[in-house]
Symmetry: C2
Subunit: 431 residues, 2 copies
Amino acid sequence: MLERRNVSLNLNVRGLRHSATLEVNQQVRRLRAEGRKVHNLGLGESPFPVPDPMVEALRLNASKKQYLPVEGLPELREAIAAHRKRTQGVATEAEQVLVGPGSKELLFLLQLSFYGDLIVPSPCWVSYTPQGQIVGHKVRFVGTDPGNGWKVTPDGLAALFEEDRDRYRPRLFVLNYPANPTGVAYSADELRAIGEVAREYEVLILSDEIYSGLHHAGEHVSIARYYPEGTIVLNGISKWGGAGGWRLGAFLFPPDLRWLQDAMAAVASETYTSVCTPVQYAAVRAFESGMRMERYLSHTRRILRDATGACHRILTEAGVDVVRPDGAFYLFPDFGRFRRRLARRNIRTSRALCDALLEEAGVAMLPGSDFQRPREEFTGRMSLVDFDGAKAMAKSEEVGPDKELPEDFLDLCCGDLLEAMRAVVDWLGPR
Amino acid sequence: MLERRNVSLNLNVRGLRHSATLEVNQQVRRLRAEGRKVHNLGLGESPFPVPDPMVEALRLNASKKQYLPVEGLPELREAIAAHRKRTQGVATEAEQVLVGPGSKELLFLLQLSFYGDLIVPSPCWVSYTPQGQIVGHKVRFVGTDPGNGWKVTPDGLAALFEEDRDRYRPRLFVLNYPANPTGVAYSADELRAIGEVAREYEVLILSDEIYSGLHHAGEHVSIARYYPEGTIVLNGISKWGGAGGWRLGAFLFPPDLRWLQDAMAAVASETYTSVCTPVQYAAVRAFESGMRMERYLSHTRRILRDATGACHRILTEAGVDVVRPDGAFYLFPDFGRFRRRLARRNIRTSRALCDALLEEAGVAMLPGSDFQRPREEFTGRMSLVDFDGAKAMAKSEEVGPDKELPEDFLDLCCGDLLEAMRAVVDWLGPR
């Protein structure tokens, strides 16, 4: 009986659930297949089509089939390095770039290769800590201030490091901005101060900048400007390039961390080997930028700024605590002020809150506990992408680039989103 | 000084080299860039273009961008299951299929998820054991008989299992056929006997059938026919579909191993997430088969059969021990009979042999030690793909499907391969 061999699982893997974001998506698909109307605020997927220059390049390179070098197509590494130089003014060479089949895979290989503690903010993206657990890392959380956009403070970080008996204990600190799940970005001053603490304790920073191209004002600032020697930057085409399903991400290493980059490349050569060849050629177009890419990004940002702003307003006016995002397409509301009403419905955890919202209001979102918040805190993540991105893009293109979108734009193009917000507010009832 | 943090590497990763096959490729590129003429018999990459139906499907689906389910595109899982039923007569449902970004990545996730020993033949493909080491598995080798095509015998396997105090110690046995590095396939009777031993000791088999479509007679037989309940089958489009750089492989699990499939899918959701969406749509065409795919495969097989056969003959006539392959595009010669001549040149390991061959004869091949053979054995792998596959395919198409290729075909289309063999023979000198 081979079935009894289910004792033969790695204990770090045993009982592991599917990534929360992917799971909610499959749940929504199931409900919709049953004919239910569901607002899917679960999965963090760009609603916009892949930009034409990238699609054209994929078609053009469809017959390319050779294995590319592990670290990536030389032209792509060059384009990624040049993109960084251009957007952040940080000197970067192609050799510093490692390309992978999605930044999540690269993050996993980083955690697998690095020997030390993993430090993450709370709240943070759903996959950092499960990855750490698979690999067997000690995972530690640094607190954030809800009143200050759930941001990590330099003092909070330093206090955590001071708890260790070994000041220079090897640590990897993951900082993500614009952030998933809050949409909040850090100011240059805040980044400088965090970088100084990291330098003092010789902590590696993994700067997850996957949403950098979706900073609503187009003003993303990287911590690599202030702590270049210890920062690994993560980027990719999944969010601002609309190409999540294409699976391409990249890490940029400082020269001092060549040992870590080389170790990861060696592991990559024994795992994913190289990234899909036609996709690498197509991604060159994303990082080269150019007029059409820039226009695409400016429409994307304008739409997301207005859509997240309107949803933020509806929730705020209903008495929900929620920070206005600086980028990306998320809101991270806290329904704590409705605690008594929720308790009367026997809702005592963020998970129960989300289950009830899906069942009774037809709105799918992820509970704060998936983002490493306490179970009893009534937070959750809304991903505001449940609208027709192609239609919104086309409408936005009809409006001049430097103008505001017309008043009826959101009703026309993102009506379902507004409806979802109202469904949540109605379900909550008066405070 | 962050550089001193190079102590902070996972010890299982520290010192890991790039995968041997990828490394030799980079070495050849370097030499060629220096203007040297090099026969590259290093990397195991199909020389043929990706079949037109697949390229057309990739173009057609280039704008698809959604994240697909972790386990794979439903149509693709369906096509892979149907392909198996059609080619092997083994009942298979779409739910049994897990799609990954290359079968190497899936193998790694299997090793990461499974808790038990890894058993591999010697010789075997270069990446099984480094993967086992990264994960921390105990790796054990089962001997093979060079006189019988380097094949594992049921008795040899049983003897190895008997060495353990626990008869049912959890074990994963990897069997690859047509084999890399030897090109040898197992007969139905041999597979049945191996399956019986595996059943007796309740050993999981990972049946690596990545070269199944390249069985020269088109007569691949899977061990899943004889040990269905304990066999996971590996397949993919890298070799017989000519699309190594596209990165798509698949595992087929028996229903009894659902626990392992689910664990792997959970790890997949925290690592690679899903496979490139346009590539999954294109791969449907590979597994659906159809007339154009079948014609492509029959040309491929005919060319490879003749090319490997001719190279085999040249080496054999020169006194080199080498088994005639049943499939794929490899030869695994043993130069042991030249031991004395080699010793006079101070060549005492397969690595030294390959270094000298590259330096002095301009032929790149991989030493037997990369395939887990003893360092001092003068074996090595030749990958016979250093010819223009598109040209050979076009020439083959001019010949009727049921005819033999004309005598001058190899000189015209695979001349470099024959030249490489002669260069090796000349370098060896008389026995």
